[in-house]
Amino acid sequence: MLTQTDAPMTGHPLADTVARFAWLLPVLPLLGFLFNGFLSLRAAAHPGPADPTAASHDHGEHGDHGDHGAHDAHGHDDAHHAARHPSAGLVSLIGPGVLLLSFGLALAVFVAMRAAHIEEAYVLTLFQWMPTGKLSIDVALQLDQLSMVMTLIITGIGSLIHIFSVGYMQDDPGYPRYFAYLNLFVFFMLLLVLGANYPLMFVGWEGVGLCSYLLIGFWFHEKANADAGKKAFIVNRIGDFGFLVAMFLMFANFGTLSFAGVEEAAGGLMVGSLIATAICLFLFLGAAGKSAQLPLYIWLPDAMAGPTPVSALIHAATMVTAGVYLVARSATLFAVAPTAQLTVALVGALTAVFAATIGLKQWDIKKVLAYSTVSQLGYMFVGVGVGAYTAGVFHLMTHAFFKALLFLGSGSVIYAMHKAYHETHNHEDAQDMRNMGGLRRHMPITFGLMWIATLAIAGIPVFSGFFSKDEILTAVFARTHGSTLAEASLFGIPGTALLYAIYALGLAAALMTAIYMTRMMLYTFHGPNRTGEAERPHLKEAPWVMTGPLVVLGVLSLVGGWMNLPLITGGAIGPVELLHHWLEPVVGTGANIVTLGETPHLSHATEYTLIGTAVFIAVAGIAFALWRLKPAALVAAKDAPAEQGIAKVLHDKWYVDEAYDAAVVQPTLGVSRTVLWKGIDAGLIDGLLVNGSALLTRAFGWMGSQAQTGRVGTYAWVIVLGAVAVLGAFSFL
């Protein structure tokens, strides 16, 4: 096999640095998981007077009579009668602690990597995993610039969210379990980005899916939550099927599954190679599943059933971007498959618009953010799809900042709402924006920080989202000519036309993004408060352990754009294209193939025009929302009339879930039950063939038994008939 099996890589510049201990990066959270998991089970196995399961039982009943859909932060129901979990203190130390350690280590490795200026990935082989026949898969970690970026995001934002969770989940009876799952998630996520081959990446890939399943269904006593978890896992599995087939194709054609090996093999392929196209399309199916793209996005909005920090970490900042990482990781392979790239970009663009339309009409604050996430993920796919890998990863990063902030901020809001409702024993929906309003007076810090994030996601200049989104749009435009994509075609439509369409879709999505985000802010923080007189005094800003991480994220959302300032700024406000240069060794080859070996070139005039358009769109969106939406006119959820017309269609998410249910789920179940089980299994095989032949035999037996009349006459006749037959046979044979 290729590089990965030459175990220690002694010659590598990173070999003698702290990078040797990179295996600790995932192992630390794993230890955290084991420890927290043990604490969780120990508490469960020794029910005492302060029995958390008993408390949670009450809690379960409590939740049942609520009739208002998915509740977040249910745990707080117990606040007044359940003491904090007995091992909460220890858990609060370990859970975020391991993450911080991991983050520290990641920073150290990052420093070492910066110092070393490596061109080639550092592969840390731990042991052989599945060596058999021609197949040789190692458990090996790959440290390069891309995995480094991802590791920093995961451990960094992960740490913040862990800390936030200490406050957010403090009264939940499943506190240790929560941190166990969260730690396990980080372990798998790090495995995903650090794995040096596709199978190992797949381990992380499925592992994060598993944790996502567990965390979505964290409050499993409500069927909807458990259903959402299951749905996420199964839809993800559809994508995983694609990932698997892609791996089969790689092994069948390249004989290797390591990143290095595949990259080397892909480099030898012609542009437009059928094999590469097939592999990439299957990989993208996997990516679409994990990153919630059309047509597999349906699980992500439902995934909001999980605790809000989980939504922030898994369903916004890290896991859902794994698909983008996968494409970036396979940059060279995608680069030789322009048809696949166009597919990726087109699906991304369509998803961006589609999800944004739904986001326009959601009332649940988390649902708005969920569709926004789907939409932004579409953006990232547009970026990596057109071969602007750096742009995609850049947006991934800034999105991680501002979307985590938005989710945590919404968590803060929900926390406050819930506490208020809890004090007054009100069972209104704490997540419905129609029940909020005017919260800026009660939680000013959250309010301010969330506006930063909103401006960032809308693409207002200076904020981080502006730079990354603009870079993607510019890259699309730049590739309409003089790239492999422009020369390729999809379904007979030339690439150039498609790219223009994608660009247009991108703008449309940007416009809608600005609208729905402003809408969310208006309804949540502005206008009159709609909670009710009793609740209003209880609305408070969250404790510092929660707002602290928000502040950090707010800063990052503000300045994150500086990590990859466009060339056109000319270094006026800071060094340009930092991220681009950093990632060059990893994705450069692929990017160069797409652009036919040249740096995509646009005239300054064009570039300024593009930037201007984007900014105009963003501002227009915000302005439109401010102009049209009247928070004052809104009524609380329980008094709100049902939507009509297109609003209802959007609110009901284009009825996609219903369509899938009718077209896929019910037919599968129905066919399985009536045709396969009752029909073939019970009816044909068991009924007709097995029991039928037994019955037939018995029937013949009964007939034979009846023929045995007991009369000598009958017997004599049979003897004579037999005799005639025998004699006949003897005479005529």
């Binding site: 009846q706 045995q708 009349t709 007991g710 009369r711 000598v712 006459g713 004599a716 004579v720």
Partner: protein
């Protein structure tokens, strides 16, 4: 002469078989069987003109055996008559199935 004797023997045998098939009285049935045996005896006797005394020896054996059978058979018929007061074979079908 042999051929005619054999034909007669075959005819007698067939008559015996038909008798067994058609009659319902145990005694008559048994007589029909005796007829079959004696038909065979006729064959043996006829054939012994061709091959020597073996056939005739056979006939003696058969007569002896038939006598023994008759003794046993009639005893059995009496036994069944004691139980059923009938020797009609259609009445004797306790055992069946």
């Amino acid at each position: 002469m042999v051929a005619e004797s054999l034909a007669l023997s075959a005819a007698l045998f067939t008559i015996g078989v038909i008798g067994v098939l058609t009659r319902r009285n145990a005694i008559i049935l048994f007589m029909c069987v005796e007829l079959m045996l004696n038909a065979v005896n006729l064959s043996f006797v006829a054939l012994s003109t061709l091959y020597g005394a073996a056939g005739q020896v056979f006939v003696l054996f058969v007569i002896t055996v038939a006598a023994a059978e008759a003794a046993v058979g009639l005893a059995i018929v009496i036994a069944i008559f004691r139980h059923r007061q009938s020797v009609n074979l259609d009445d004797i079908n306790l055992l069946k199935g």
